[in-house]
């Protein structure tokens, strides 16, 4: 039974990776938020299963926290922001999408190779997923680099946190509760601040293109 559940965690890890790729290939902001919500839900499921297999009850708590924050509150806030800014459809990428995907696969190979020796040292149930978690983090990073608009960058930032969280649960059965609460609060506040920031960028430049920020130089 526990072997099957471990395989299930691996499957959820593979789904996280697939969703990270889907986010990289997605042009539209609304779909991006849907994908982010799905990634959050997958993460919650993975955390619950790891908690059940290893009998670590505090993981249930962090799963509940993740559920409330990343499946309910933050997607709701993001939807609200894009409603107010009226930017449902536009995403503009700096590099075209096929190139992004090719870079993405290089990133995946790199992180799998990097994580393999580390995972061999670990005794955790799903230590093999460390490579997947690392790949998720780097792919979200790639998304932040390749997107020109502010909202997709924020989503990339949040997805990166998803990857980190998955690495923490799969490799070390979760961080201490204090750290986890701190990060959760950080992410929430981060989204709120970045939301305000987005409105400010729009007010200043009539666009959410963050390349405009380069103009803010002192003469």
């Amino acid at each position: 039974m526990s072997i099957l559940l471990t395989q299930f965690v691996n499957l959820l890890g593979a789904m996280l990776l697939m969703l990270a790729f889907a986010m990289n290939s997605q042009r539209r902001i609304v779909t991006l938020i849907h994908l982010f919500t799905m990634q959050g839900a997958t993460l919650v499921l993975a955390t619950v299963v790891v908690g059940y297999v290893t009998n670590q009850h505090h993981l249930y708590l962090s799963a509940a926290l993740t559920f409330v924050l990343k499946v309910l509150v933050i997607p709701y806030l993001l939807h609200k922001v894009i409603d107010r800014l009226d930017i449902h459809w536009d995403v503009e990428t700096l590099i075209n999408i096929p190139t992004t995907m090719l870079i993405g696969i290089v990133v995946v190979i790199f992180s799998f190779n990097l994580a393999k020796p580390i995972a061999e040292l670990s005794t955790a149930v799903a230590s093999g997923t460390l490579g997947i978690a690392l790949a998720c983090v780097l792919l979200s990073f790639l998304m932040m680099i390749t997107r020109a608009k502010a909202v997709p960058q924020v989503i990339g930032f949040l997805a990166m946190e998803n990857g980190l969280f998955f690495a923490a649960t799969s490799a070390t059965y979760g961080m201490p509760m204090v750290v986890e609460l701190g990060i959760a609060l950080d992410v929430l506040i981060g989204v709120l601040i970045l939301g305000v920031f987005m409105f400010q960028i729009r007010e200043q430049f009539d666009s959410l293109d963050i390349r405009n920020l380069e103009k803010l130089k002192e003469e």
């Binding site: 890890g13 593979a14 990776l17 790729f21 096929p98 995907m101 090719l102 696969i105 995946v108």
Partner: protein
């Protein structure tokens, strides 16, 4: 080659040829229902074949023998393909002759012939359709190969019967790599069977059609054979999908009587698969032709990641 092997081989090909139009009818039925239209009869593909076989075949004056031969080659390729894929039993004498790579080659052979035939007449539409078909084909083939390879990695063989034997009859296990390959396979088979995100099988709007443009010049019995071959292709792809991802219920070599059970199981699985295909076609929008390379590139990458994930997670 044993007698039971020969029997199962023959039975499998006959069932494929007989059931393929029914699968097409079933998908069309559900598509119409889901799109709130009154549905055509499920037997419509059979009636269409009957009508076309009784009609005179009109061929352009400048058509070469290639044009006449192409429908037969295509039908032959698809029939052989359904003979290789284990649907009822894994005891198939033909399967030792051709593995998964040869199967992809068979599909490619059919594609080459139909594209050449489309260009043979020299009409603008035929040539345009052929070019687009080759564009879709050369991107879909590597992705399909990668999907088949991720299943081969698990069973250490490229023979489809061995893959089904290992996947279907060993202890149940979840393979994360196969999940990624499954998504990639769905995308590839949508493109290969000219289904909605890539091509619309119901359209005759000149600028968007791919597949219909290819067979525009055919009529009568040639068109009937091509339509039948298209149904067979959909059937073959569905069966590859079932063989790789849901291989349960296929009879083994030692137990030919299991085939009695395997047939209802196959029909049941195909019915669900056809329904899901109709759902997928209803919820997605046809994309621009220039988005197709991106779509199929994503499928290829997902299949490659499936391979990598398998190598990472299964030591």
């Amino acid at each position: 080659m044993s007698f039971s092997g020969l029997l199962s081989q023959l039975l499998e090909i006959i069932i494929a040829i007989a059931l393929a139009p029914l699968l097409t009818g079933w998908v069309n039925l559900w598509r119409a229902w889901l799109q709130n239209k009154s549905a055509p009869s499920i037997w419509l593909p059979y009636r269409l074949l009957h009508k076309l076989f009784n009609k005179e075949s009109v061929i352009a004056d400048n058509a070469s023998t290639l044009f006449r031969a192409a429908p037969y080659v295509m039908f032959g390729c698809m029939t052989l393909a359904t003979g290789i894929i284990p649907t009822l039993s894994t005891d198939l004498p033909l399967a030792t002759a051709a593995d998964a790579i040869a199967l992809v080659g068979l599909f490619a052979l059919a594609r080459v012939f139909i594209s050449l035939a489309a260009m043979d007449i020299g009409t603008a539409f035929g040539t345009m359709g052929a070019r687009r078909e080759m564009l879709v084909g050369f991107l879909a083939e590597p992705a399909l190969l990668m999907v088949l390879f991720s299943a081969s990695l698990i069973s250490n063989s490229t023979s489809l019967t061995t893959i089904v034997d290992t996947l279907g009859h060993r202890e149940f296990a979840i393979y994360p790599g196969l999940a990624l390959a499954g998504v990639a396979f769905t995308m590839v088979s949508l493109a290969e069977n000219a289904r909605v995100p890539v091509d619309n099988p119901a359209t005759h709007l000149e600028l968007t059609m791919i597949h219909e443009a290819l067979i525009l010049e055919y009529s009568g019995r040639h068109l009937a054979l091509i339509e039948w071959a298209i149904s067979l292709k959909l059937f073959a792809y569905s069966c590859i999908g079932l063989a790789l991802f849901f291989p349960w219920g296929v009879a083994q070599a030692q137990a030919p009587l299991d085939m009695l059970l395997a047939l209802p199981v196959l029909v049941f699985k195909l019915a669900i698969g056809g329904f899901l295909l109709a759902v997928l076609e209803t919820v997605s929008v046809k994309m621009r032709i220039f988005r197709v390379p991106e779509f199929l590139g994503t499928a290829f990458l997902l299949a490659v990641i499936g391979l990598l994930v398998h190598l990472l997670l299964v030591p």
